[in-house]
């Protein structure tokens, strides 16, 4: 007998299918269906979504799950819990693990852990180069066969343009997008924050925006040369946005993402040397932040991705120079982006949902991000006006490194379903 579920009376926002209306959503045997038979409706599990938003489970193509090798910070299991608590049902994990995910064996290890432990869908990425050193290409064909959905040296950036060019040409054969963490290493040696008024005042070594712009430009040129799809990760500078804008006008095969923290925060936040504002790329000026918001609005930037980067308390609780870069972001993503893009920048909610669902899914060609009949019933039920406090009870990541720790945020995940089955509800992971 089929298993039927009705999510009743919610505001269904499904941008892929241009749907934004109050209606019931029907699920049978883990898949979205257009309707249920009267008999099914009678025995269906009913979830009341009155006053809530019902949308495709969110998609995050940039998270760090730290497994294998750094499981004191996070595991595939706890990272998937954090994702579920944030309304995400599909996440893509980065290969800067230990060992780096640069062979089929490590990819298989990750997939085994995903199968065993993850409560949401997790897709792996592989490295562009062996051990992310930027010297020798990783076995991209073998990585594709092992199941990676993209390649990236994230955490590092290939500096040698010949290697990057050959990587793009080779990856294109396998339809593997290349995601790049755009950073010129020579311009940023020892740097810990944006180069500007605040780095001068605080006496911290600064990172010029040019160090990102230069690599974004490099990638645009190489994408034009090879035809390969290059995706710029965590864009942080107005200069990069402008380069992307002109590249898109020329129809170059490039895309880009912005993180919630770069949309919300600036380098002025570092005035007390709080390491929860230390990340790579760094928080920049208000002008950069506004350029990122404009870039998302006009389509120059394609999606939002969190760059969820867990680090333990004792690792972050250090002098600013010594603390590692990065903050967690899965659980707070919806609230922060809702406040900035919808609240501050006046963007309608369905556009924000698109940046978090169908657009990232399409970018990497993932079966996710839409409530099309026949699709897996990966659903998020959100309360855009619900308030919650960021603390031990609401954060499911193993780590605590969030700039919003202790703060009250507006925009909460009520329930998350994967394959029609609830994995997060009432503030708890289920099952």
């Amino acid at each position: 007998m089929s298993k039927a579920t009705i999510i009743r009376n919610g505001r269904i926002i499904d941008p892929k299918n241009t749907r934004d209306e109050v209606a019931d959503l029907f699920i049978r045997d883990g898949k979205i269906v257009e309707s249920l038979a009267p008999e099914e409706k009678k025995r269906a599990e009913t979830i009341d979504a009155t006053g809530r938003v019902v949308c495709p489970g969110l998609v995050d193509i940039h998270v760090h799950l730290r497994e294998p090798g750094q499981t004191h910070k996070e595991t595939i299991q706890t990272g998937s819990w954090a994702a579920a608590a944030g309304g995400f049902t599909t996440i893509v994990c980065m290969p800067n693990t230990n060992p780096a995910a640069d062979t089929a064996g490590t990819i298989q290890y990750i997939l085994d852990a995903v199968e065993r432990d993850a409560v949401v869908r997790v897709y792996p990425t592989g490295c562009i180069t062996h051990d992310r050193k930027g010297e020798v290409l990783a076995p991209l064909g073998s990585l594709k066969r092992a199941g990676v959905v993209a390649i990236t040296d994230d955490g590092d950036c290939v500096q040698n343009n010949e290697i990057m060019r050959r990587g793009l040409e080779y990856a294109k054969m396998f339809n593997l997008p290349i995601m790049d963490h755009c950073q010129d290493m020579a311009l940023t040696r020892g740097a810990v924050m944006n180069e500007g008024e605040w780095s001068i005042r605080l006496g911290l070594r600064g990172w010029p925006a040019a160090a990102e712009d230069i690599i974004v430009a490099r990638n645009v040129v190489l994408s034009e040369l090879t035809g390969a799809h290059v995706h710029m990760q965590h864009i942080s500078s107005a200069g990069s946005v402008e380069i992307m804008r002109r590249a898109k006008q020329r129809k170059v095969n490039v895309t880009a993402e912005a993180t919630p923290h770069h949309l919300a925060l600036t380098d002025a936040c570092i005035k007390d040397y709080n390491t929860n504002f230390k990340m790579n790329p760094p928080l920049r000026t208000e002008a950069d932040r506004q350029a990122l918001i404009e870039g998302l609005k006009d389509g120059t930037l394609d999606i939002v991705a969190t760059d969820h980067a867990p680090h333990t308390n004792y690792e972050k609780d250090k002098e600013f120079d010594y603390a590692p870069f990065g903050i967690i972001g899965s659980e707070t993503c919806f609230a922060v982006t809702r406040e900035i893009m919808c609240g501050e920048a006046g963007v309608p909610l369905n556009e924000l949902i698109a940046w978090l669902t169908c657009k990232p899914a399409e970018l990497l060609n993932l079966p996710a991000g839409a409530l099309t009949p026949g699709a897996a019933a990966d659903v998020a039920i959100l309360d855009p006006d619900g308030t919650w406090t960021v603390d031990e009870k609401t954060i499911f990541s193993k780590s605590r490194n969030s700039p919003w720790w202790g703060r009250e945020l507006t925009g909460k995940t009520v329930r998350t379903l994967v394959n029609g089955k609830t994995v997060f509800a009432d503030g708890e992971i289920v099952g």
Binding site: G190, R201, L202, L204, E319, F320
Partner: protein, 315 residues
């Protein structure tokens, strides 16, 4: 005004009045240093720990001397001989020092923000003796004290800081303090070491040496900092000396009676002509001496000492 701060982390958070309170206390302590019995009992029974995680001659000795003159006991920890080399964190080191009953920690550290960080970890006074490229408040205080002795007032005076400003905590603390005290601060040197961004701190940025030195009431020279600076900012010491070193010809551009200052250590023949360092115009050694009275003032005030009690110190 009465001083109510537990810590001295930097000049930036201080008001002009607070700086002047420190100068007042320093004046009082300076008189004591000229007596035959150079101690006061103000901090008797207290122990000051100097936690110096970067090399130092002047600052470390001056803090030891200041503590001793206040009748405190002083213990100095040098990084290379401590468990820092075994990977112990600053936080754990500080908690241990506190558990060992220390009353004050004086911290010199290579990371900007370290003093502020430490002040949140321990409940005893933390005195910043230099945190990376950020601030060196006691240096700026002794510099300001010395300038006032020679110039009477700082209002409208042209003070030029010359050298590697970018990596200098002395420059930053002095920019904060001299602007608060009403001076016109000019920072000068090569463009790679003196970016325009320093204008946002209220300083004039000048890359032409003549403009920087002409009619200045005082010039403060900075050493080129090899340990914090990477080799990419400047071709060579020889080029620096020929373009920006203070020699007699250039010193003549200063206002008559102007003073030449340097926080030390000096590189003779690099940023300053050797003879100039020993000349009448140079107040370099006076600065060092003033460093004791100003640090006595800081230790005294941060441990709850009252300005009023200093007006008639016991013999």
């Amino acid at each position: 005004m009465e001083w109510t701060q537990k810590d001295l982390i930097g000049i930036e958070p201080l008001t002009r009045e607070q700086i002047e309170t420190i100068f007042q206390a320093a004046s009082g302590f300076k008189r004591i240093l000229d007596r035959s019995v150079k101690k006061v009992p103000a901090l008797r029974g207290k122990t000051i720990v100097n936690l110096f995680l970067e090399p130092s001659t002047r600052t470390k000795l001056a803090f030891e001397m200041a503590a001793t003159r206040l009748s405190a006991d002083v213990i100095t920890v040098n990084a290379h001989a401590s468990s820092f080399v075994k990977g112990e964190t600053l936080k754990d080191t500080a908690l241990n020092i506190r558990a060992l009953n220390a009353d004050v920690i004086v911290l010199r550290h290579s990371a900007a923000g370290a003093a502020q960080y430490l002040s949140h970890i321990v409940d005893i006074p933390v005195i910043n003796a230099g945190d990376g490229s950020h601030e060196h408040p006691t240096q700026a205080l002794l510099d300001g004290f010395t300038l006032l002795e020679h110039l009477g007032s700082l209002e409208g005076k042209k003070i030029t800081i010359l050298g590697d400003i970018l990596f200098s905590r002395v420059a930053r603390s002095n920019i904060f303090s001299l602007t608060k005290l009403g001076a016109n601060v000019t920072v000068a040197g090569p463009a790679t070491l003196v970016p325009r961004t320093f204008e946002t701190m209220g300083a004039n940025v000048v890359h032409d040496l003549r403009t920087a030195l002409e009619d200045a009431d005082a010039v403060m020279l900075l050493r080129i900092q090899h340990e914090r600076q990477s080799s990419t900012h400047f071709p060579s010491l020889g080029e620096y000396t020929s373009m920006f070193g203070l020699n007699k010809t250039r010193a003549a551009w200063l206002k008559p009676g102007a003073i030449i200052m340097h926080p030390g250590p000096i590189n003779r023949g690099v940023e300053i002509d050797s003879d100039l360092a020993d000349s009448e115009q140079s107040v370099i050694l006076e600065q060092v001496s003033n460093g004791i009275a100003t640090r006595m003032a800081v230790l005294y005030l941060c441990t709850g000492g009252s300005l009023g009690a200093l007006e008639a110190p016991a013999e």
